[in-house]
Symmetry: none
Subunit: 192 residues, 4 copies
Amino acid sequence: MTTPLRKDAARNWDRIVAVARALVDQGAPLQLNDVARRADLGVGTVYRHFATPEALLETVATPGLEALAAHGEQALGDTDAWRALEGFLLRVVEAQVTDASVAPVAAAATDTLPRTTELKASLWSAGSALLDRALTAGVIRPDVASVDLVPLMCGIAHAAAVRGGTPADRVETARRYLATLLAGMQTTPPHS
Amino acid sequence: MTTPLRKDAARNWDRIVAVARALVDQGAPLQLNDVARRADLGVGTVYRHFATPEALLETVATPGLEALAAHGEQALGDTDAWRALEGFLLRVVEAQVTDASVAPVAAAATDTLPRTTELKASLWSAGSALLDRALTAGVIRPDVASVDLVPLMCGIAHAAAVRGGTPADRVETARRYLATLLAGMQTTPPHS
Amino acid sequence: MTTPLRKDAARNWDRIVAVARALVDQGAPLQLNDVARRADLGVGTVYRHFATPEALLETVATPGLEALAAHGEQALGDTDAWRALEGFLLRVVEAQVTDASVAPVAAAATDTLPRTTELKASLWSAGSALLDRALTAGVIRPDVASVDLVPLMCGIAHAAAVRGGTPADRVETARRYLATLLAGMQTTPPHS
Amino acid sequence: MTTPLRKDAARNWDRIVAVARALVDQGAPLQLNDVARRADLGVGTVYRHFATPEALLETVATPGLEALAAHGEQALGDTDAWRALEGFLLRVVEAQVTDASVAPVAAAATDTLPRTTELKASLWSAGSALLDRALTAGVIRPDVASVDLVPLMCGIAHAAAVRGGTPADRVETARRYLATLLAGMQTTPPHS
DNA sequence: CATGAATGAGCCTTCATTCAT
DNA sequence: AATGAATGAAGGCTCATTCAT
């Protein structure tokens, strides 16, 4: 797809992404100058690889999004439509709360990298398919459309962030919120 | 409460707040220099009235928060505990979606103005009281605590923003999301 | 000389000077706005009394300068010409080290208040007279002229400030430095 | 010692220092924005080279301090302990009176650049060594300690500044003041 | 390809001074 | 006389981006 990078260029790419990852984990803003200094590279090099801070952020978020997309694919193999949907949404929420690069990318209206667009579309369609199956299986009320899924997960992640507490608290909070929301989507009494 | 402002100072205060309101409505960031220029006032004047952008934002949000607090008080008079809670939460969500100054102030962990703290406390306690009544009335499951109320409303507003669309669409979206969430909180079959 | 102030104006004048004195003692810069706030007066009032920060500083320094001038007069009554000169210079140096308003006013090339000019002239002439007497008495070598006296005292105060330490240390340091300088001015072996 | 600058960067560095030198010579305050404008460079460039005005001032003072430090080393080779000390102190005083960047840096309690700290330490130890030799030679009374040397030179420079006159006058004044002070430090009758 | 110096718009903030009330 | 709101020049600093080396 892309021209393979020269070995040293690939090493630089990795260093940049690693530094960016570390910054994101600390909650620090991604400034390309700053990234360059920490990666011990020239600014120009960073700009060559990532034209904007957004592109770098999306790159940092990519593995997380890929894992979600992969889980989405796999969930379609689950014979229990409800459990499949629930598991998928839980992963989506957890990823946002756990990995600070995911939430802003998931919530962004526009993407910078084609790969990001692909992955988000993939998540979208996985959600859509899982929702359809749940509807077909009659375990869910048709109040929620497939386009609502990702926004709702972003909302839950945001709610958990507003609620505050330690990272672990937030994961716990997000799970509870998701459970309540799912209870509101179900036809039947709570699944568990 | 506060020393009344001199007439001219009051006029400037109003102009500043009006300019800030307009900027917030456009989704523009509040920069005090920018506000000063647009209000055709010296920077110093703006700084005299509002020491920080946050103070100005909170001031812009104040009427909205006051209306919510008033509604909260009033809701306690409703004999239908469920309807009272639902109505209150709906207002909270609508305010956030409708007035761009409300969401960030509601979501902020710390306040700048004492008035903001008061109003947020008032919202908090109104929510708490309404939730308690609903629990006592047995119309709600004890999965959600009073401290979850505001975060959840922030989450819904955020979800509606991520979902996108026109302002009117977002209000509609937020209402649906709230309905689903409430359905998940209810003991009894959906209210509507 | 000056029109007597109305009673309330006099009270304000006193408050301003007291606040300024306190600021100077803390080593804080004299800002008229700041003084006004601390004195709980309008800025305009402070400006009416003191047109510039320098005028206020000179006013704060005035009692110290008056005490020095008085001492100078009195020293002329001392029959021991050397002791009179030494005592005078010691007072001048101590005042600068002890009272932060004195050094800058003494060192300034130009004055704002006529009263300051008067007092500085008085110091000057006292020093001059004491020096002349010492020369006449033959206890001093004619290397130092009367115009050098105040500059040298400023220099010693500055040296003590550069040397650092607690306020008490600086007084001690300044005394030592003065003693050494005086030793260099004497005809005869050290007096004490 | 430091990574050599690129040619253009070196040229800019020179321009900045030259502009700063000129400002200091005029007695103007060093403001980085102002320096940038006069050097016809972007502010950022100036900030890249000198993070603070103090760093720039110290850089401007460096050649002067280096010359003093070199003289200090060399003075230790003089067999006449008194002449060596006197010559050294004279240079220190002259430098302060002649080069407006030296006095504030010498008087400052804390340094910004490591190089400045080095040079000041070097001056300190040269003075200390010269003083020790003079004490050992018995040409000086032990009233003055080595830590007093620099403060006293700062004091003399300050005294000369207060005394006023043309630059040449001030050098002359400072020499006289130093001679008097040294006379006060000597064991034996005045040297000249 | 990599480098990193240079840029400069743009934001923030302070403070001496004026002048309408 | 007193007040204190208003002013706005002035200075500080950051950071995204470009481009010569």
